[in-house]
C-alpha cells in the first residue's frame, strides 16, 4: 500500500504516478488531498484498489477495466464513463452523466445524483454493468439504456432536498436492461418506450444481491432498505424506433 499526495499536482502528473505505481505491482494505492483532478484510474487494466481522499474530478474511472475505486467524499460528472470492469464506490453525492455507455463493472453512489445517469448502458451475455444510487436522481435516468441493471433507492442519504425520487423523461429510449426503483413513479415521469412491472422472485434476488453489496460497502442497513416495495421498469421493445421509417 502506498500513498500518493495529490496536493497541487496537475492531473497528468498525478495519473502518471498512479500508472507507475500500478505498473510497479502495487495492489493498494491511497490518493490523499485529491482536489478535482480528472481522469483518475482512466483505462487502468489491473484489479488494484484505489482509495481517494478529497473530491476527484470528472471522468473518474473512464474506460476503467478492473480497479476498485473508493471515494470518501462527493464525486463529480462522468464517473465510470464507458467503464468496462471494476467497481467505483462514492460515499457522497455525484454529478451528471454517470456510467455513460458503461459495459461492465459496478458503480455505487451513496447519495443523490444529477441528470442523465446510467444512460446508454450495454450488456453482452454475462457482462452486465450495475449502478446503484442510494439517493435520488434527476431527469433522463437510464436514457437509451440498452442493457445492464440500474437500481434507484431514494434513501435520504444525499444533500439534494428534492422530494421526488427521480426527475422526468425517466428511461426514454430504453431498449434493453432493467431498472428497479424503491418507490413509485408517476406516469408522466416515464419515457414512452417503457412499462412499469411488478418485481418477481428473480428480480427480488437481483435486488437483494446488489443492495446487500451496496449497503455493505457504504455502511447502510440492507434489510431496512429491502423492506420497502420496488417496481421494475423495462423496455416494451428492443426496437423502439423500428416503425419510424418509410422503407
Amino acid at each position: 500500500m502506498i500513498t500518493i499526495d495529490a496536493k497541487g499536482l496537475p492531473y497528468r502528473e498525478l495519473n502518471e504516478k498512479v500508472r507507475e505505481a500500478v505498473a510497479g505491482g502495487e495492489t493498494e494505492i491511497k490518493l490523499a488531498n485529491v482536489n478535482g483532478q480528472r481522469y483518475i484510474a482512466d483505462a487502468i487494466d489491473s484489479p488494484v484498489q484505489i482509495t481517494i481522499e478529497g473530491v476527484p474530478g470528472n471522468d473518474l474511472g473512464a474506460f476503467m477495466n478492473g480497479p476498485t475505486v473508493i471515494v470518501h467524499a462527493n464525486g463529480q460528472d462522468h464517473i465510470a464513463n464507458t467503464m468496462n470492469e471494476g467497481k467505483i464506490v462514492v460515499h457522497g453525492d455525484a454529478g451528471d452523466v454517470l456510467g455513460y455507455g458503461m459495459r461492465g463493472g459496478k458503480l455505487f453512489i451513496k447519495g443523490d445524483v444529477g441528470y442523465r445517469v446510467g444512460i446508454h448502458m450495454k450488456e453482452y451475455k454475462d457482462k452486465v454493468p450495475v449502478i446503484v444510487i442510494g439517493g435520488t436522481a434527476r431527469d433522463f435516468f437510464g436514457e437509451y439504456m440498452a442493457g445492464g441493471t440500474l437500481i434507484l433507492l431514494g434513501l435520504d442519504t444525499g444533500n439534494n432536498d428534492s422530494d421526488q425520487i427521480a426527475g422526468n423523461y425517466f428511461a426514454t429510449g430504453m431498449h434493453g436492461g432493467v431498472i428497479y426503483v424503491r418507490g413509485k413513479l408517476e406516469d408522466y415521469q416515464l419515457g414512452k418506450e417503457v412499462a412499469v412491472l411488478e418485481v418477481d422472485d428473480s428480480d427480488r434476488q437481483t435486488i437483494e444481491k446488489y443492495v446487500t453489496e451496496f449497503a455493505g460497502d457504504l455502511g447502510l442497513d440492507a434489510d431496512d432498505i429491502l423492506k420497502d416495495e420496488f417496481i421494475k421498469i423495462k423496455a416494451v421493445s428492443h426496437r423502439p424506433y423500428g416503425n419510424l421509417y418509410a422503407y
Binding site: Y39, A62, H78, Y100, G101, A146, P240, Y241, A246
Partner: protein, 505 residues
C-alpha cells in the same frame, strides 16, 4: 393499401439472349427476378433497385436496367421524385430513409476549380524518374522547434506530438462493422496495410479477427460508445471522436436490429437483434471544454501515444467550430462535407443539411491560419471525393489528407443504388446476411482498393510534378495553384482563389 408509386426502373430482358439459367434470380436479394410456374424467368420492375448485380453477372448480357422516370406533365416543381416521396409517406407515415451521399445537383466546386502547371519557367518534374514525396504526417505540429548542436550534429530538442504516417494523402473513411460487412472491413484493413495508410472502424467497434490490422487502424469513439474499451483504444494507431457525419449532420443513428447478428452483437456489446442507437450528441460533450475533456480522457487512456482526431460535419459555422476543436487539443480535425455517404440517413437531412466540403476546407484552413493555429491540428477532408483531381484540389485548398468512403465502396463493387439501409446489398458490402456477405471476396476487394489508391497516387504525383512541385506538403494550402472557372466573386472569396486568367500574384 395499394401503392401509387411507380417502378423507378424498367428491367429489360432480351429473350433471345436469356438462357433461363437463373443467375439473376439467385443474385437478387430484392426478389426482382423470379421463376414462374413453368420455370421461366421473369422480372418485377417495382422491386428493382438498379444495383446492376444481375446485369454484371448475366452470362449472356441479356439484362439491361433502364430509367423508368414517368412523364410528368410540364412541371419542374412536382417532379416524379417529389411525387414518389409523397406517396411513400402517405402510404407509411414514416420518415424517408436512404443511403449514400447527397445526390442532388448542387454545384460541385471541384469542377469549377482548375490546377496550374509549369511552362518554360520553373520546370516540371517527372515523378517516374525524379523524387516525389506523397508522404504525409497527421498530428499536431509544434509552434516552433528547438535544435541543439551536439558534437557538430543537430539534435531535435522539441518533443513532437504523436503522428501517424501515410505513404499517400488518402485514407479510408469511417464505415462501421454493422453498416458494412465483415469482408468489407477486412478488405479495407488489408488494403490500408498494404498501401501504408489507414482505415477507420467507424463507430461499431473492431472485430476480434481484425486486430491484426490495428497498426493501420483509426478507431472511432462515437456517442453510442459501441465496442469502446481499453484494448480497442490501445490497439489503434489513432482515435477519432465522431461528433458528426456529412450525410446527417446534427442527428444520431439507428443501426436496425436486423443488422445486429451474433458477430455484430459481440463487437458492439449489445444483444442480438437489438437496435443500436447512437444518440445525436455525446452526452458528456455539451461544449468545447467538454470536448477537450474527452480528448484528454482518451489521451490519458493511451498515455499520450496517439493522435486524437475529431470528426465533424461541414456546417455553416464550421470554421469557428474547427478553431474550437484545435484549441480543445485535437491533433486532427476531420471534416465531412454534405456529399459524404452513410449506411442510413433520413433523406431530407441527407439532401438538405450541411455544406459542400470544398467551401468548408477553405474556410477552416483560412480561419486556423488567421488565428495562427493551423499547425496545431491536421485537416482530413471527406465527403464525395470522386477522383485524384478532387483530392489534389482539396490539398491545395488546405487539407492535409482526404478520406475515401463512397469511392472505396465503388471500388469494391458498389453501384450506388442507395439501399444500404435495407441490409440487402447484393454486392455483399452493406449487409450482414451471410449468404450475401460471402459474395465479397476480401482478397479481391482489397486488391481493387489497393489498385484504386495506387492509381490515384500516381496521378497526384504527375499533377504535382506538372506544377513543378516535388512534395505534397508544398502544395498544402497553396491556393495560387488553383483558379476558378464560372464562380461568383463571393464563392471565390470563400475558396480563396482567383478567377482563371488572373496572373500568379
Amino acid at each position: 393499401m395499394k401503392t401509387y408509386q411507380l417502378p423507378e426502373v424498367r428491367i429489360e430482358r432480351d429473350k433471345d439472349r436469356c438462357i433461363n439459367c437463373g443467375v439473376c434470380v439467385r443474385q437478387c436479394a430484392f426478389n426482382a427476378h423470379k421463376f414462374d410456374e413453368d420455370g421461366e424467368v421473369y422480372s418485377e420492375d417495382e422491386k428493382c433497385v438498379a444495383c446492376q448485380r444481375c446485369v454484371s453477372l448475366c452470362p449472356t448480357n441479356a439484362l439491361y436496367i433502364k430509367d423508368n422516370a414517368p412523364f410528368v406533365k410540364d412541371n419542374a416543381n412536382w417532379t416524379a421524385e417529389t411525387q414518389k416521396y409523397i406517396w411513400k409517406q402517405a402510404e407509411t407515415g414514416g420518415v424517408l430513409l436512404t443511403g449514400m451521399g447527397n445526390p442532388k445537383p448542387y454545384p460541385i466546386y471541384w469542377d469549377h476549380l482548375v490546377l496550374n502547371a509549369s511552362q518554360v519557367t520553373n520546370p516540371s518534374i517527372d515523378p517516374l524518374r525524379e523524387p516525389m514525396e506523397l508522404r504525409t504526417y497527421l498530428g499536431s505540429k509544434p509552434d516552433h522547434i528547438e535544435i541543439e548542436m551536439v558534437n557538430g550534429e543537430p539534435v531535435l530538442r522539441t518533443k513532437i506530438a504523436p503522428q501517424i504516417m501515410l505513404k499517400t494523402p488518402i485514407l479510408f473513411s469511417a464505415m462501421s462493422y454493422g453498416a458494412i460487412s465483415y469482408n468489407a472491413c477486412e478488405a479495407l484493413g488489408r488494403a490500408a496495410t498494404e498501401l501504408g495508410t489507414f482505415w477507420n472502424t467507424g463507430e461499431g467497434g473492431l472485430h476480434r479477427n481484425l486486430y491484426k490490422y490495428a497498426p493501420n487502424t483509426i478507431v472511432q469513439v462515437a456517442s453510442g460508445r459501441f465496442g469502446v474499451h481499453s484494448e480497442y483504444l490501445d490497439a489503434a494507431a489513432a482515435i477519432e471522436i465522431k461528433i458528426g457525419q456529412g450525410a446527417k449532420p446534427g442527428i444520431g443513428g439507428h443501426l436496425p436490429g436486423e443488422k445486429v447478428g451474433p458477430a455484430v452483437s459481440e463487437t458492439r456489446m449489445i444483444p442480438v437483434g437489438s437496435d443500436a442507437l447512437s444518440p445525436a450528441p455525446h452526452h458528456d460533450i455539451y461544449s468545447i471544454e467538454d470536448l477537450s475533456q474527452l480528448i484528454f480522457s482518451l489521451k490519458e487512456a493511451t498515455e499520450y501515444t496517439k493522435p486524437i482526431s475529431v470528426k465533424i460535419s461541414a456546417v455553416h459555422n464550421v470554421a469557428a467550430i474547427a478553431s474550437g476543436i484545435a484549441r480543445a487539443g485535437a491533433d486532427i480535425i476531420a471534416i465531412d462535407g454534405f456529399r459524404g455517404g452513410t449506411g442510413a440517413a433520413p433523406t431530407m437531412i441527407r439532401d438538405n443539411v450541411g455544406i459542400p466540403i470544398e467551401l468548408a476546407i477553405a474556410a477552416v484552413d483560412a480561419r486556423l491560419r488567421e488565428e495562427g493555429i493551423r499547425n496545431r491540428a491536421s485537416i482530413i477532408a471527406a465527403g464525395g471525393f470522386r477522383n485524384s483531381g478532387d483530392v489534389i484540389k482539396a490539398i491545395a485548398l488546405g487539407a492535409d489528407a482526404v478520406y475515401l468512403g463512397t469511392a472505396a465502396l465503388v471500388a469494391m463493387g458498389c453501384h450506388v443504388c442507395q439501399k444500404c439501409y435495407t441490409g440487402k446489398c447484393n454486392w455483399g458490402i452493406a449487409t450482414q446476411n451471410p449468404y450475401l456477405e460471402k459474395r465479397l471476396n476480401p482478397d479481391i476487394a482489397a486488391e481493387r482498393l489497393y489498385n484504386l489508391v495506387r492509381g490515384w497516387s500516381h496521378e497526384i504525383s504527375e499533377m504535382l510534378g506538372g506544377m513543378g512541385i516535388n512534395a505534397i506538403e508544398s502544395l498544402r494550402g497553396n491556393r495560387l495553384h488553383l483558379r476558378a472557372v464560372g464562380l461568383s466573386r463571393e464563392e471565390m472569396d470563400v475558396l480563396g482563389v482567383q478567377v482563371a486568367g488572373s496572373p500568379m500574384a
